[in-house]
């Protein structure tokens, strides 16, 4: 059983373990998408560190009892990055790693976008953007009504801040000082059609949230220690809802995918992508890149 470790200092040993798990998670993302032949690559790779930190250090949860009443709730608003959630859930023991191969296939619990009643532990159905913070507020209000102290986390994308619904929720949470919930924004700067600031600028994002009455933290979302520290600080803020703007590198760990919006919605080895290895070599190159930490070390798997 995994318990809430947030109050326990992140030792160097634990940090190294989490970092290794994040690399493993990225490999599994590539292998899973390769098998599925469709799905999103960049977002799941960019968010591997945060998901590993949540499932292996931050959340109070139990893979063997996914409905336990006092569990922390992790709401994934941008459902399209679910491959990383599925991978990390499998690593945590919610279901066999082998089942990842069923992603997006008929009769699978791993729907292309997450579906609450299909898979225990995914908490919500999501995919259509902009609806997660609202749902998280619903969970937070219910916890307050019942005097429960479990905590609500909501992961959103940056792009979905172009949805009006997102701002309706931000407005409500600011007014009502929803303080048993932390929103985590995957600020990776890309969306399907290009860079967010070219498609529809989101900046100044911090000032916007502050104007709506939120406490804002900004961290390197690919640095597990700084992210964990930010989550701890967020939980300590009493008078406001808190958002962590997590600056991440989309495609993190795979050189040719990093910061390339063309990999937002593409899986490896399905088509040719400008500036990337040829179709047929993409997954192989990506896995080699991950296993050698982008050439920094020799992989034991090579």
């Amino acid at each position: 059983m995994i318990v809430d470790n947030l109050d326990v200092d992140l030792t160097q040993e634990k940090l190294l373990d989490l970092q290794e798990k994040a690399v493993k998670a990225r490999e599994l993302v590539i292998e899973t998408l390769l098998e599925a032949k469709s799905g999103h690559s960049a977002g799941p790779l960019g968010m591997a560190d945060i998901f590993v930190a949540l499932y292996f250090h931050i959340l109070n949860h139990d893979p063997k009892d996914p409905h336990k009443p006092d569990r922390d709730r992790l709401i994934l608003s941008n459902g399209h990055i679910c491959p990383i959630r599925y991978v990390v859930m499998a690593m945590a023991g919610y279901f066999p790693i082998e089942e990842l191969k069923t992603l997006r296939k008929l009769n699978s619990r791993l729907q292309g976008h997450p579906h609450r009643t299909a898979l225990d532990g995914v908490e919500t159905t999501s995919g259509p953007l902009g609806e997660g913070i609202s749902q998280a507020i619903g969970y937070a209000l219910a916890a307050k009504l019942d005097n429960k102290d479990h905590y609500i986390y909501c992961i959103t994308s940056d792009g979905e801040h172009q949805e009006g619904n997102t701002w309706e929720a931000i407005m409500f949470a600011g007014k009502n000082k929803i303080n048993n919930m932390t929103v985590i924004i995957d600020r990776n700067n890309i969306q399907i059609d290009g860079f967010t600031e070219d498609i529809m600028p989101l900046e100044p994002l911090r000032e916007k949230y502050e104007a709506f009455g939120w406490h804002v933290l900004e961290v390197d979302g690919n640095n597990i220690r700084t992210f964990v520290d930010a989550v701890r600080e967020a939980k300590a803020i009493f008078n406001k809802p808190t958002v962590i703007i997590a600056h991440t590198i989309p495609g993190k760990g795979v050189s040719f995918m990093e910061n390339n919006y063309l990999w937002h919605g593409a899986p490896p080895d399905v088509g040719e992508v400008a500036g990337s290895p040829a179709k047929g070599d993409q997954a192989k190159t990506a896995l080699a890149d991950l296993r050698t930490l982008q050439g920094k070390i020799e992989s034991e798997h090579q």
Partner: protein, 328 residues
């Protein structure tokens, strides 16, 4: 005559018949639920008074959430509450909810199987002077097409109260449809209310069944009564549950009369008439006529005038009955 078994309001055809809006029954039902069921919570989007959540909000402020003019946020918050073992009632005008926030409801409430009750107010032309922007005339169509939802259209304020209370006992999403203006109270506290179709107007050797839903059932009753005096015997049936439709009840009545007219304050496409036509096409084809808005928006005006102009009233129903009988 009025079906004696149903203990209907015996004065419904009199000038001084009691008039009450269906939205009022919703408000009363909510207060009853507030007092009896601690899991019930209520959300509104800046329409506390007119959608009749106000009394609940005053009595149970800690279980009431004012969302402001933000129907998408209201829907998804309700979804989160519903999954967290609350029974949320979200209340707004039907053009906005489930209109404007349709996809939010589809994803976060329906597909997500959250136990949310969606109260759609100001449905149909009973919204009158506000005009077609605020007259929800497609809401039955856009809710009944969802899997895993029940759709209830109460015929008067009594039935509204009972439908509201009953909806809290249904495990899963429910759409409740209410009207703004006052309409004749046809039922009494003794009238049975369940998911079955009830035949309000009964005659010997009937030649046609009029299926009515919501306040329009009263116009069907007026038509049925007048037709009898003209020598045409019909049955008038109240369909409160558009979904699940009481298929057995519909087929029984068609077995007796061989044809049908549907009457609703809604587009004739996809609503009550559509639901019955789908069933008949599958199980027992029979001639059918549809009374409602005929592929058009209505306009500002008093409900009574709109009903006349758009061919939805007593005379239009009588014409439809005669036509459908001639097609048998």
């Amino acid at each position: 005559m009025l079906n004696p078994a149903l203990k209907l309001n015996p004065t419904m055809f009199e000038e001084a018949a009691e008039m009450k809006a269906t939205r009022d029954g919703f408000g009363t039902g909510l207060v009853y639920l507030g007092e009896t069921n601690p899991a019930v919570v209520v959300l509104t989007a800046d329409l506390n008074e007119s959608t009749r959540t106000e009394e609940f909000s005053k009595k149970f402020p800690e279980r009431f959430f004012e969302c402001g003019v933000a129907e998408q946020n209201m829907a998804a918050m309700a979804a989160g509450l519903g999954v967290s073992k609350k029974i949320p009632f979200m209340s707004s005008y039907a053009t906005f909810s489930p209109g404007k926030n349709w996809e939010t409801i589809r994803t976060t409430i329906i597909y997500n199987h959250s136990n949310v009750k969606i109260a759609g107010h100001h449905s149909g032309i009973m919204t009158g002077p506000d005009g077609a922007t605020h007259q929800a005339t497609e809401d039955i169509a856009i809710t009944r097409c969802w899997p895993d939802i029940e759709v209830i259209v109460p015929c008067d304020s009594h039935e509204s109260k009972r439908a509201t209370i009953m909806s809290a006992t249904i495990d899963g999403p429910v759409y409740l449809r209410f009207s703004r203006d006052k309409s004749v109270v046809m039922t009494t506290e003794e009238t049975p209310f369940d998911k079955k179709i009830q035949t309000f107007w009964v005659t010997e050797n009937p030649q046609c069944t009029i299926f009515g839903t919501g306040h329009m059932l009263y116009y069907a009753m007026l038509a049925g009564k007048e037709l009898e005096s003209e020598g045409i015997n019909v049955l008038v049936a109240n369909v409160a549950f558009i979904k699940p439709l009481d298929s057995e009840g519909v087929l029984d009545l068609i077995e007796k009369t061989g044809c049908a007219v549907s009457v609703e304050d809604h587009q004739v496409m996809g609503g009550l008439g559509g639901a019955i036509a789908e069933l008949l096409a599958l199980k027992r084809p029979a001639p059918m006529e549809f009374v409602g808005l005929q592929n058009t928006f209505a306009e500002s005006g008093s409900p009574k005038d709109i009903i006349e102009k758009y061919g939805m009233g007593k005379n239009a129903i009588k014409e439809a009955v005669k036509k459908v009988i001639s097609r048998k």
